[in-house]
Each structure stands twice: as C-alpha cells, then as structure tokens.
C-alpha cells in the first residue's frame, strides 16, 4: 500500500517536471519529436535509479559516519558524472544498438537537475513522500517512479509540440520557448487536479 501511495505521489501529485520544476532543460530542449523524447525519458530514468543506487548508500553508510555531510554536493556531482561516463562506455562496448539510440542523450544527463535532484531529495526531508522513514528500497523506488513521471511529462509535451510547432499560427515573438512554456503551464494545470485526490 505504501508503495502504491509513493507511486501516485511521485508520478502524478508531485510530478518531477511540472510540479517540482526538476529537469526542465531536457523537457524543453529534447521534446521536439516523440521518439527522441522517449529516448531521453528512458535514459534519465535509468540514470536516476543508478545514481540513487550509488549516492544513497554512499551518503548513509560512508559520509554520515565519517562526518562528511557537508561535502555531499561535490561527492554527488562527481559520482553522477563518473556513472554517466561509465554507462556510456559499457553501452558502447556491449550493447551498441542501445548505445546508438540512447547514447547521444547520456552526456546531457550529467548536468540535468533531475538526477542530482533525486539524489538530494532522498537524503532530505522525507515527510512529503508519504512514507515513514527512508531506506534504500524506498529510495530506489522513488527514483524509478520519479523517472516514470518525467517520462510521462516529456512524452505528453512532445506530442503536443509536434502539433503546435507545425500547425499553430502565432506571433513571431511567441515561437519556440515561449509557446512551450505556455503549453507546460496548461499541463501543470491538468496535473494540479491530482493534488485534490
């Protein structure tokens, strides 16, 4: 039951993109067509889970006992950068087909707020996540569900933008980023309904 609550909270109520504003750069930058949006969404989800798998134990079992909490930002960003680099090499070597479809998004993910954001959120205040206390299992599930929320948001956005960018007749100043922001605003309104559950 707790897992179901966590799922609803992470995917819909506190959607990573439209409610918490994490990962906006790829959300706006890589949402021009549905196939690349899907690739980006999957890549971000995988990296979020892997990053949490490394950073959460690193923080709870190494940094807290040693009193290194204040170094978390530096440690986390380096872990994520190294992880992304390693993932890229492994994919290139062993699964070239997957590398060709996801590889181009991987370097972008290092500087993605969503990945560092989830690493910071699972070690912070967990009262908003609907669970009593955080452990590694919950942290991984939260990262997975947040990634799914990101995937849903970026897919919806790319579907809308495919239509709007091609067919809508709008003033020149609104083209590009501004109209994407307005679309995102309507999406946020739609997601607001979930907070009323």
């Amino acid at each position: 039951m707790e897992i179901f609550t966590l799922f609803i909270l992470a995917v819909f109520v506190n959607n990573f993109v439209v409610v918490q504003f994490l990962g906006i750069c790829p959300f706006l930058g890589v949402s021009k067509d549905t196939s690349s949006a899907f690739g980006m969404g999957v890549a971000v989800t995988v990296v979020m889970v892997l990053a949490t798998l490394v950073t959460y134990p690193l923080y709870t079992f190494v940094m807290v006992p040693l009193g290194f909490e204040f170094m978390e930002i530096i440690f986390f960003i380096f872990v994520i950068a190294a992880l992304v680099q390693m993932l890229e090499q492994i994919l290139k070597k062993f699964i070239p087909a997957l590398y060709n479809s996801l590889g181009i998004y991987l370097p972008l993910i290092t500087t993605n707020c969503a990945v560092l954001g989830v690493a910071e959120l699972v070690i912070g205040d967990v009262s908003a996540l609907g669970i009593a206390s955080m452990n590694l299992g919950y942290a991984l599930l939260y990262a997975l569900f947040s990634g799914i929320g990101f995937l849903i948001a970026i897919l919806l956005m790319s579907g809308l933008r495919e239509k709007v960018d091609r067919y809508a007749d709008m003033p020149k100043a609104l083209k590009g980023f501004p109209i994407s922001m307005v679309i995102a605003s309507f999406m946020a309104m739609a997601f607001y309904v979930f907070t009323l559950i």
């Binding site: 530096i74 560092l116 959120l121 003033p171 501004p178």
Partner: protein
C-alpha cells in the same frame, strides 16, 4: 581591454544574451523561486556570487587546466563555491535557505555558470571574466526579480512582502502553472521588445553611416584634394 569592450560585455550579459530570457538557461531555479520577489532576488544574488567567484577562478586557472579534463575541473570549482554559499546561507539567512530547499545544491548544475566558464572565462583575462560574471548575474537577478514581482503581486496581492490594501488574489500565479505561464509571456515580451531595439539600433547605425558619407560632389572633391595635399 578597452572601456568599450566592458560596455559590450555588460550589454551582452544583461540585454542581448540575457541568460534567463534570451538564452533560456537555468530554468529550473527560475520557475521554482519566483513565487515572491524576495526569493527571486535571493536566488539571483546567490547565483551572481557563485558565477563571479567561479568565473574569476576559472580564468586564473585557464592555462593550468588541461583541455581534456576541463569540464570536471569547472564542475569541481562550481561545486566548491556552491557548498560555501550553502553554508553561509544556512548560518546567516536560514529563512532563505529553507525557501530555496533543494534548488540551492542544484545551482551546481545551473547551465548559466558552466556555460560562462566554458564559453567565456576559460578564454579571457581575469577582469573581463569578473565583469562577465557580474553582468550575467545581474541579467539573471533582474529577470528573476521582475518575474517574482509579477507573480507575488497578482497571486498574493503583496509587493516585496508588503501586503496591498485590496484583497484581489489570483491563486493561479503562485501555482506551478502560473510559473510556466509568466515565464513564457515574459520571454515573448522580451523577445518582442528586443527585436524593436535591434531594429532601431540598426537604423541608428545606418543613419550614422549616411551622415559620415560626403553629401555632394563638391564635398567629395574637397576631401579628395585635402587627401592629396597630405
């Protein structure tokens, strides 16, 4: 560097390449921390300080850092300054620290700072890099403050925390939907105004060129004679 170059750096950072409205960088922090004008200023100043420090240090070390590992080196520099600013805010401005929440550590992955380090500070002298950092920081802060004022005024009927006498609040503007909407409209308006500025600047340059040209045949002959005499 000449005085004109610094003028250009400031014009680029604040208007022509305004990081928030022209380049649309650092969007996460912009959307999340413009719920009130004070939050906008706080975030803007924190980024300005980090941008200034990281630009200066990157510029100082630009001949020491090998080209292959420059990105990790820049990230390390930025992460260090973010940690310092976080500790300072935690100790002296706990309210701001709480309202910034997870977005304070996320300044590390703010594209503006890494972008300026990569494209400007690693190629220019310390003074120019410092000026560039301040200019971009001001551009970011001004943009965040204006959006914060709009959202606070319409959504909460207050101005910098001072409540207005009327009680007309549109909750939409303090919600996440309002953040996207205000940001989108601000970019569109700024693009519109900037395109007008660009046209008038182009007109001004054309006029200046026309005035510098000789007006009549006699004038042309006179200038030719003057050059011959020299």
């Amino acid at each position: 560097m000449k005085k004109n170059d610094y003028k250009k750096i400031f014009f680029d950072g604040v208007v022509a390449n305004n990081p928030t409205w022209r380049l649309v960088l650092g969007t996460c922090a912009t959307l999340a921390l413009t719920t009130s004008a004070m939050n906008g200023i706080g975030m803007g100043l924190a980024v300005t300080v980090i941008l200034l420090c990281s630009n200066v240090l990157v510029s100082l070390l630009r001949k020491v850092i090998p080209n292959e590992v420059r990105i990790p080196a820049f990230v390390l520099i930025i992460a260090t300054f973010v940690t310092v600013v976080r500790m300072v805010l935690y100790a002296y401005l706990p309210d701001l620290y709480d309202s910034m929440g997870v977005f304070l550590p996320l300044i590390v992955v703010n594209c503006i700072i890494l972008g300026r380090a990569e494209s400007f500070a690693s190629k220019n002298t310390v003074l120019a890099a410092a000026a560039d950092g301040v200019a971009n920081g001001i551009g970011f802060t001004v943009a965040l403050t204006i959006m914060g004022i709009i959202r606070e005024f319409l959504g909460n009927a207050s101005f910098f925390g001072i409540a207005q006498p009327w009680d007309f609040k549109i909750g939409f503007f303090t919600s996440s939907a309002g953040a996207f909407f205000v940001y989108g409209i601000c970019i569109a308006l700024f693009n519109f105004i900037y395109s007008k500025i660009e046209i008038s600047l182009a007109h001004g340059k054309a006029r200046a060129r026309r005035q510098s040209l000789p007006k009549s045949l006699e004038e042309l002959k006179e200038t030719a004679q003057a050059q011959e005499e020299k």
